[in-house]
């Protein structure tokens, strides 16, 4: 029967259409990998000259400085000209990864150094800059050594610092602390006492953007460093997962849960964000006492509520020390800085290398960074920082970073992506008390 035949075909087509519907949403996501041209393994040090592309993050405050560096280079370059392309933060990470595996790779790219950069180095995608730094000692000595080391992988340099240092420390609302009779804490016990006093004064003791795991991570990073020293995480990041079993990890997680149990973060922290009207707003509206955040918080507060900052209500202090802890109280965590790296497959590798070598230490560029509110990772800028509007904050950041025994890169940037993702998920569960400190250690040690 032809009639039945038609129905049969229709039916099958309908089934296919259903498959298509089910497939589209799910598959387009995983399938948008661009085809795999592969690096040849070893990082090349040759590379030609020509025009090059520079990829960086979208950042209104930084744009003039970044653009200026490219323009200055272009005006004097005879070998090729650069173009700056910028992208929003989270999409950037995905886009960069896909691009570096393809022929469309940028020649110079913004990155965070550490394990994040190491993955690209291991895949043979990044140009080795060691020879250039040795040939040009003026470039190498321009940067603070501990910060330059953030892009040192397997004994070789793969990145040049290209913006300010971003240590994490404890911001506070002076008005709220005064009202509750609290002085800024220098030890863990003082912090716990401050939490009790602030609770009694009916404010949220500590603002926490807990819907985003990276804000919770700052607490974990500092507490583990204070309790067990930087060695504990150094062992983990070197690839030894049993490092998570260190008793200091469990202790640090217990301290986090102590804060949670005390109500230090209030009741709503799990839905508070950092990006939109979140933790920073809670702080500047006098609804919270403390906020542990990176040094970019200052610029953020200026943007959100200039009066609050100008009236001197925003205070800051180094993270408290922990009694009997192995970590030096001068240690800081955060982002040492961001780096420009040069792609190993770049056809204009030499020009791109000249660009990062000549422009990132250029006095004009450093001046532009400082004007934008950054604290550059270069030596000898104290006088310049003191002359700025935000001298107090800038000098605090500069000294904190300069005097630190150890400047640890954020774990989520330092661990391989898959491990970082697992760690962040587990950490959120610790903050929600869905996971015990011991379970946290056991899960990650697997």
């Amino acid at each position: 029967m032809i009639g039945s035949g038609v129905t049969y075909r229709n039916r099958r087509r309908r089934a296919l259409a259903v498959v298509a519907m089910a497939a589209t949403a799910g598959l387009l996501l995983t399938a948008c990998d661009s085809g795999g041209d592969d690096g040849d393994g070893g990082a090349s040090t040759s590379g030609g000259t020509g025009d090059f592309k520079v990829w960086a993050l979208q950042d209104a405050a930084m744009q003039p400085a970044w653009k200026g560096a490219v323009d200055r280079f272009n005006s004097s370059s005879t070998t090729g000209k650069g173009t700056l392309e910028v992208f929003a933060n989270d999409p950037y990470k995905q886009k960069l990864r896909v691009a570096l595996g393809s022929p469309q790779a940028p020649d110079v790219f913004f990155n965070w150094g550490g394990g994040n950069l190491k993955e690209y180095v291991d895949a043979g995608k990044v140009r080795d800059l060691t020879a250039m730094l040795e040939a040009k000692p003026d470039v190498k000595s321009a940067f603070i050594p501990s910060v330059l080391d953030g892009a040192k992988i397997n004994g070789k340099y793969y990145g040049i610092p290209m913006r300010g240092m971003q240590p994490v420390f404890l911001y506070y609302n002076k008005k709220v602390l005064d009202k509750a009779g609290v002085t800024p804490p220098t030890t863990w016990d003082e912090l716990l006492a401050a939490v009790d006093s602030l609770k009694a004064a009916k404010v949220t003791p500590i603002a926490l953007a807990g819907s985003q795991a990276w804000t919770e991570l700052m607490w974990a990073e500092y507490l583990l460093d204070r309790v067990g020293g930087p060695e504990v995480f150094a062992k983990i990041v070197a690839g030894d997962k049993s490092g998570w079993k260190d008793p200091a990890v469990v202790t640090a997680m217990e301290m986090i849960q102590t804060l949670v149990d005390k109500g230090a973060f209030g009741k709503d922290y799990a839905s508070v964000g950092y990006d939109v009207g979140g933790a920073s707003t809670i702080l500047n509206q006098d609804r919270a006492g403390f906020h542990l955040m990176g040094s970019w918080e200052y610029v953020n507060q200026l943007g959100q509520n200039e009066k609050f900052v100008k009236d001197g209500n925003l205070g800051w202090i180094a993270f408290p020390s922990v009694a009997n802890g192995k970590g030096d109280p001068s240690n800081v965590v955060g982002n040492p800085t961001n780096y420009y790296a040069v792609s190993a497959t770049s056809k204009a590798g030499q020009t791109a290398e000249d660009f990062v070598a000549s422009q990132m230490k250029d006095p004009e560029y450093i001046k532009a960074l400082i004007e934008a509110g950054d604290v550059p990772a270069v030596t000898g800028v104290t006088e310049q920082l003191k002359a700025t509007d935000n001298a107090d904050h800038a000098m605090f950041v500069y000294d904190l970073a300069l005097n630190s025994k150890h400047f640890a890169l954020s774990w989520d940037q330092d661990l391989p992506a898959a491990d970082a993702q697992k760690m962040l998920t587990a950490l959120q569960k610790v903050f929600l008390k869905e996971m015990t400190p011991q379970e946290f250690a056991d899960t990650l040690a697997q």
Binding site: M1, I2, G3, S4, T7, Y8, R11, R12, A15, L16, V18, V19, A20, M21, A22, A23, T24, A25, G26, L27, L28, L29, T30, A31, D33, G36, D38, G39, Q94, R97, L100, G101, E119, Y120, A123, G124, K125, G210, S211, Q212, K267, D268, A270, S271, V272, V276, G277, T281, I282, R287, A417, A418, A420, Q421, K422, T425, Q428, K429, L432, E434
Partner: protein, 318 residues
């Protein structure tokens, strides 16, 4: 999967059969468009549905972090599926979202749809209002609700007097998934309402006229005429909801990012986090294949169980 076809045509079918016999007498060329006509659609489908699906299937047997070449990994990713506690949990969450969305959306969409098909005063104005969510993009809707329900600056804060300490709606692991269901329903009810409205308009008026003569009230008309006549629309709408729930992604990503913790991490989000945050493309592909199989199985089951395949029109000849 395809059931045998009943060889004896029903009386209603015979008329169709006769017509097709007439068609048979025409030349081959006239009878049926050539296969070439299907080519554009076929190529589109092959390039954007079949090919990616095959690639994902291949990827699921590899280990790939997005850099360099995928390395063969055998059954590793598939074995890991069974051991992944978070996967099992997200599977249950997906089922919960699916069932809850269906149970919430169907009665409301059906009710409004049938009402909107009528001739009441103000119906057109109100219907237009009801359809507004359909005009907004998903991220915009999710962002709006996220801001609206913000514990510190949103509605819950304004209602602190009533809610007391329970203002943390999106940050409460027990509550967040229900809010996600609510927000997605708010977005999709207008669409399903539109389906029901169209179908209800298509119900022949004579059926209602006849029932009035038989003394049926409005309630009886709804249960005995409207609802049975909307059978196929219910199936269509159900399949769209089921498949939609298995593949829904953007709304929850924007609303809660799968959180707090992993409380709203349904299957597609789990796949996303594995693939695009953890860069375990091989494993993420295995999860993707699971989603395809699940979505397909679910819609096929819905088609079979509902008798949708019979596709008999009850309004023939009217």
């Amino acid at each position: 999967m395809i059931p045998a076809i009943d060889p004896t045509p029903s009386p209603a079918r015979r008329a169709v059969g006769d017509r097709e016999e007439a068609v048979l007498q025409m030349s081959d060329h006239d009878r049926r468009p050539g296969a070439v006509w299907a080519l554009p659609a076929f190529l589109f489908f092959a390039a954007f549905a079949v090919l990616p699906m095959v690639l994902v299937l291949v990827l699921s047997f590899t280990s790939w972090n997005g850099l360099g070449d995928p390395q063969p990994a055998g059954m590793e990713n598939w074995q890991r599926l069974a051991k992944d506690d978070e996967l099992v949990a997200s599977l249950w969450r997906t089922l919960l979202v699916m069932v809850a969305s269906w149970a919430l959306q169907t009665p409301i969409a059906l009710g409004i749809g049938v009402w909107a098909a009528g001739k009441q005063r103000n119906r057109a104005v109100l219907s237009a209002l009801f359809f507004v969510p359909l005009l907004l993009s998903t991220p915009a809707i999710a962002l709006m609700w996220r801001t609206f329900l913000d514990a510190s600056f949103g509605l819950p804060n304004a209602l602190r007097g009533v809610l007391g300490d329970n203002t943390n709606l999106l940050g409460n692991p027990d509550l967040a998934i229900w809010i996600a269901v609510f927000v997605m329903s708010w977005q999709w009810i207008p669409f399903h309402t539109l389906l029901y409205q169209g179908a209800a308009r298509g119900v022949p008026v004579v059926l209602y006229e006849a029932s009035v003569i038989d003394g049926a009230g409005r309630w009886r008309q709804f249960w005995s005429i409207t609802l049975p006549q909307l059978r196929y629309t219910i199936v269509t709408s159900t399949i769209l909801m089921l498949v939609g729930s298995v593949t829904t992604f953007d709304a929850i990503l924007v609303l809660t990012e799968g959180g707090p913790g992993t409380a709203t991490r349904i299957l597609p989000l789990h796949m996303y986090f594995m693939g695009f945050t953890g860069y375990e493309m091989g494993y993420a592909s295995a999860v993707a294949v699971l989603i395809v199989v699940l979505g397909t199985a679910m819609s096929l089951a819905a088609v079979r169980l509902s008798g949708f395949r019979a596709m008999q029109s009850q309004s023939e000849g009217l």
